[in-house]
């Protein structure tokens, strides 16, 4: 179905987490590398709290904007249960990078549904390649919870078909206006995200996506 020359990245999370902005920066990096790009923004009806996914496809020429189940090279999950929800989109050799944040919706608090025990573990049990980490506490350790999104981008940086520096320079550009201190803080968050994944996966697996 989808050409081998196309990279499919699925970013998922909850409204208000910054899923769309993160995907936008990934798209900018792909454009900087000369790729054709399509990026969808599919959110539910309200402002906050619902399921959000963003599909990013890039390569020499992208036709359909939709990613099909079973075709994702890298799944970037901003929340555990959301990563689990979309894990069937992964290719058999695909990689899930999951922030193990647990955001429990009111329907679960009301006792109407259960939150899954250990979503990353369930994905592994289903045969998925999963790296999970706590992006928010990494960000908190760096002194600013809002750096969590840049930690997430750092996490995926070594698993793209181009150099991590391309993505980093797009992040730099985003924060340039806010001054050198903010740029430096984001650089640290980016590096922390990279090493969080590398410490679990090792350096050998890098750039699993087609070059």
């Amino acid at each position: 179905m989808s050409s081998d020359q196309i990279t499919n990245i699925l970013v998922c999370g909850i409204g208000g987490q910054g899923v769309m902005t993160a995907t936008e920066i990934l798209a900018e990096a792909a454009i900087a590398e000369g790729h054709d790009v399509k990026k969808t923004e599919v959110a539910g009806m309200a402002q906050r709290g619902g399921v959000v996914t963003s599909h990013l496809r890039f390569g020499p020429k992208v036709l359909s904007p939709q990613i099909e189940p079973g075709t994702v090279q890298v799944l970037l999950g901003f929340e555990g249960a959301e990563a689990l929800r979309w894990s069937h989109y992964l290719r058999p050799d695909g990689l899930a990078l999951v922030n193990n944040a647990k955001l429990v919706p009111p329907v679960v608090e009301l006792g109407l549904f259960d939150y899954p025990e250990d979503p990353a573990g369930q994905m592994r049990a289903a045969g998925r390649r999963v790296v999970s980490f706590d992006a928010m506490s990494i960000a908190r350790d760096l002194g600013e919870i809002r750096l969590g999104n840049t930690v997430m981008l750092g996490a995926i940086a070594d698993y793209l078909p181009f150099a991590p520096e391309v993505l980093l320079s797009c992040i730099d550009q985003r924060f340039e206006r806010k001054g050198a201190k903010v740029v430096e803080a984001n650089r640290q968050a980016f590096a922390a995200g990279r090493s969080a994944v590398e410490s679990q996966l090792g350096a050998t697996d890098k750039q699993t996506a087609p070059a």
């Binding site: 009806m45 036709l63 939709q66 679960v108 809002r146």
Partner: protein, 630 residues
Amino acid sequence: MAAVMPQTTHSPAPPPAASRLLLSGNEAVARAVWESGVRVAAAYPGTPATEIIESLARYPDLHAEWSVNEKVSMEVALGASMTGARAFCAMKHVGLNVASDCLMTMTITGVNGGLVIAVADDVGMSSSQNEQDSRYWGRFAHIPVLEPADSQEAYEMTKFAYALSEQYETPVLLRLTTRICHVKALVTVAEREAHEPAGFVKNPQRWVMVPAHAKQRIPNLFKRDDTLREFSETTPLNILEAGNDRRVGFVASGPAYMHVKETFPDAPVLKLGFSYPWPPEKVRALAAMCDHLLVVEETEQLLETEIKAAGIACHGKDVLPRIGELSPQVLLPAVDRLLGKAVPPPAVADAPLKVFPRPPTLCASCPHMGIYYTLSQIKNLIISGDIGCYTLGAGHPWNALDTTICMGATMGVALGMDKGRGEVDKNKRILAVIGDSTFMHMGMQGLLNITYNQGNVTVLLLDNNTTGMTGGQATPASGKDIHGKTAPRVHLEKIVEALGVPPERIKVVDPYELPTLFKAVRDEIKVEGPSVIIGRRPCVLTEEFKPFRPYLVEEDKCTGCGNCIEVGCPAIHVTRRDRVVKPSGREVDLAFVNIDTQACTGCGLCVQPCAPDAIVHVPRHDIPIHIVKS
């Protein structure tokens, strides 16, 4: 050429010509509207079309506006066109229903300055009450329909539409879907061209649509259809792409074309960019070169029916679904079925794992929570609802909304219930809930109808000072225009009074003040005749909202009663559950809670039902600085 990001804030200078921009379909249409020299662009917000006008408002040298509803936006565009100005209006699919009264006569007068209507169909229904196919309006109104397949085409077709509109003096329908509007792709842009209006020319036979004049002009519609059908055969927007694998040939438009090309790259395809009137000879040529003809369209069986009526055998909805989005995953098994191949069941590895649903929630501190918590505590109500964030009141934990139909329907429905109810509903109280923006869109007439016809309905007008659900757009009652500049502010109390509600039956309450709100609802539902309770608090996502000190739960005081959970705030979380047996022998489930102080903005709604006073303010020194806005 270097890629340049689109501006996301107010900017005096749009990106220059020849920039390659990553644009959503909506942003691409906006850029093309601006480049086409359009002077007037109007819309009411509606997903997935909202960002077209939002984006246009950032361009110079044109009048962009939030109109109060889609019908008015189309009338504004028509008026501009009458003066010779190029004009534009945008709406979601259901918005075109509202505007259709204008459309069905505007097609008879025709246009002077080019006029393009962008209509965005919510295929797959991510945020709408129905999934209707706007291509029907092309047939009904005898106007051409263009269907782009991605952002670049959305940009190019919009520009083409202005030339087409002026050449044939017709409004042009630009049919978008969610997968155009909300997909970002690269677009190469150009300069804005000047377009000076030629001036309004008095011509009652053309512009005054009384029967005698309309009768003279209606034959033009049919002539125009015929001319445009010929044009459809020659326009480069309709391309027959020959392919080597000629078992199945495809007729496709919009995003469906991309799915076909992705799935069957070697098959012949007739791509219909100009999809109404469609080109019969081109379809015949395609049919002649392949074994089977398959029409791939979202969503109705429309082209397929018309192609069959023209005597051309084809397939379509016999193998493809009639609702929802198409995709390669949907197309592949459908074509297998058509070719008589066995369709393998989906691989187990591809099956989704079971995860709880995560419906959208009201935000922490959303004023609607106070309203719905109150309504959920009162028995014997029938609550007619409307369209906005407050439609979520139908969900858990409130279950306090009983109907939702269309924009502004709440009060008409409530009056009908009041007048139609029999003995069985005699003792129930009928309420109508509506938001401020929806009230001004199409709700005011419903209230006037209640007062005029002396209905017994209590109206809850939820004034959060914005159009919340579409992202917080200004309204006539917010005192701001589309650019955020000061605009005359209308007073909802005065409108309500002018519509015939007695002044003593109009109450303005703070939805955070639960006892006052509760009393107001209790009092007003007892009174015969119409009354209006205005719940006034700004939407938490607008600048007007100022967060308060957050709360926390003193865990040793929490008794697990769960009252606070019934408020429905997403910042309240259960830490522990228990089941105890009361002295009466009754089993009771307990849920002990905490509050996510990062998410809490201190509205205090949960404090009020907390029986043991376990919810208290976070100590001042513990408040993260960025939570408390100055």
